[in-house]
Structure formats: C-alpha cells, structure tokens
Symmetry: C2
Subunit: 171 residues, 2 copies
C-alpha cells in the first residue's frame, strides 16, 4: 500500500486549477465533443466532479468516521449531474470552491492513522475502509482528467492520419 | 475532418500550465513512480515534451513548408530525453518557455489554408500533410497529459481496494 494522507492531498488540491487550464476558454466545439452515444463531454465530467464533492466524498468519509458499526454509505447517484446547463467557466469556479471546502472539511476531521481502517458498507462491494475511500478520491480525480484528455483527443481521430498508430489515446 | 488552426492553439497554449498544476510541488514518491519496467515517470514525460519542442514540431513544420517536393522530415529520436537529471520545476519551466517559443514561431509562419495540404515524407508512414502533423501535435499533448494521470493513478492500484472495478484508468 502506498497511501499517505499528505500525498493524497498533493493530488486533490490542484485538480480544479489543472482542469481550469485544460478547459477554460476552449471553444464550444471542444467542450461539446464526446466519445459518441451518451458518453460525457468535458462539461458533464466537471459537473460530475462537483456532484461528487457535494454528495460523495465528505458525506461518505463522515459516515465512516461517525458510525460505530459497518453502516451503509450515503448513496451516490453517478448520473445526477446530467441535464445541467451551466457554462464551463461557472462549472470550473464551482468545482474549485467545492473542492476547497471539501479539503477544509477533511482537514478539520483530523484523521489519524488508526481511523484509516474504519469501515462502511458499500452497496455493491460490501465492507470498505476509509483508506480505500480516500485513495479512490485521488484516483477518481486522475480518472476524470484522463477521460477529458481522451474525449478531446477523439475529435482529431481522423485528422492525425497515419500517426493514429502511434497515439495510444485514440485506440 | 475537424482541424482548425485557431482551435488547435487553444489546446497547445495552456498545456505547460496544465502540467504545472498537475505536477509542480508533488513529492518524489509521485514523480518517480512509473508503470513498471522501463516505462516513463512524469519527469521523463515532461523531458520528452521539451525534446519534441526542440527537435520535432517546428523543425518538421518548417521542413514541410520550405520543401518543394516530398522531402524526408527531420528525424526525431523519441528516446533522446532519457537519462536527464533535472527536477520537475526546472523541466516545467523549460517546457513552458519552449512551447511559448514554438507558438511564436508557428504564428510567424502565417500558415494559410492551402499550406495545410503540403506534404513531407515520414520515415515509416510515407507522405503526410501539414494538417496531419499539426493535428498530431495537439493529440500528442493530450496523450501525454493522459499518460501522466495514468502513471500517477497506478501508484494507488492496490490502495483503492474493490473500487478498482469502477476505475477504468487502472485497467
């Protein structure tokens, strides 16, 4: 296991700024592109990240820390952000504020090493630990930055011509 | 085809800032992690991006624009950056300066629509167009941001426990 809370925060803290530089000011052609079907565009990914700040990470961390037994985690609807109509600048600002608030709340919880083994009940996985939830928060950020770069790249899938064979992101 | 030069620059311009927020200040544990074997860590990816600014994009664009026939593109060694020992802050600064310079040079070339069909000879692919090269530059940036998020995420591959099945970046 590699998890350390201070190192996890090194990743969590700059994510809004990373996404702001990646997405702020892009034209609608970039922002509305997706991977086909009902896959998400970049706006929907950021809206999903905001939803996670509100209803997933801190509520679930709180639940694990305050329950005595393996209580069910608060539910989280992974699709509740769809249908929003905010622009990218507003979404990025909202994500930035939500993340700042989440990290403030996380700091205030003063999680100690022995807290990391405390557990909650996930509806699909059964018993999970606080350490697994915190690690997932980190990887979830990276997953969605990864997804956005893939979604954007797909727009030039044909434009790159024969170079496509060298560009693993297009596979 | 979706390529437009102004939209391509929307992606190319902020890449150094995006990577700076993603990587600046990370502890050595994050920066030195890779995907196993002789795969690249984040430092090596940024060093590769710098090398591309110096020996790939602008030299190849110039070559296509100035040659009359299908001349061979200037060669590019994809591994020439390995073995460097610079720290992340120095690499990010250098990438930022190189990219700024590349985009200045690109602007000065005043590429027009009809230039985009001009060709060069790639050692493996044969004839390629300027439009394909410019599109590849964009997707190459996104590929390497994508790669860095994947490399970082892999460090928590075990830490996330059963959530691994939900996190496509770990597959």
């Amino acid at each position: 296991m590699n998890f350390k809370q201070s190192e996890a925060i090194e990743i969590l803290e700059p994510t809004p700024a990373t996404l702001t530089h990646l997405l702020s000011g892009l034209s609608q052609e970039w922002l509305s592109t997706n991977e086909g079907g009902d896959s998400w565009n970049s706006l929907e990914v950021v809206a999903h990240l905001i939803q996670c700040e509100k209803s997933n990470w801190i509520p679930r961390i709180n639940s694990i820390l305050t329950n005595i037994e393996d209580d069910p985690l608060p539910p989280f609807d992974r699709f509740s952000h769809l249908g929003q109509e905010k622009g990218i600048e507003e979404l990025l600002r909202e994500f930035s504020q939500s993340r700042q608030q989440s990290l403030y709340q996380l700091g205030a919880l003063k999680i100690r090493s022995f807290d990391l083994n405390k557990t909650g009940l996930h509806p699909e996985f059964g018993s999970i630990t606080l350490q697994q939830l915190l690690s997932t928060w980190v990887v979830h950020d990276l997953t969605h930055i990864n997804q956005i770069t893939r979604v954007l790249a797909k727009r030039y899938d044909q434009d790159v011509g024969p170079w496509k064979t060298f560009l693993s992101i297009l596979k």
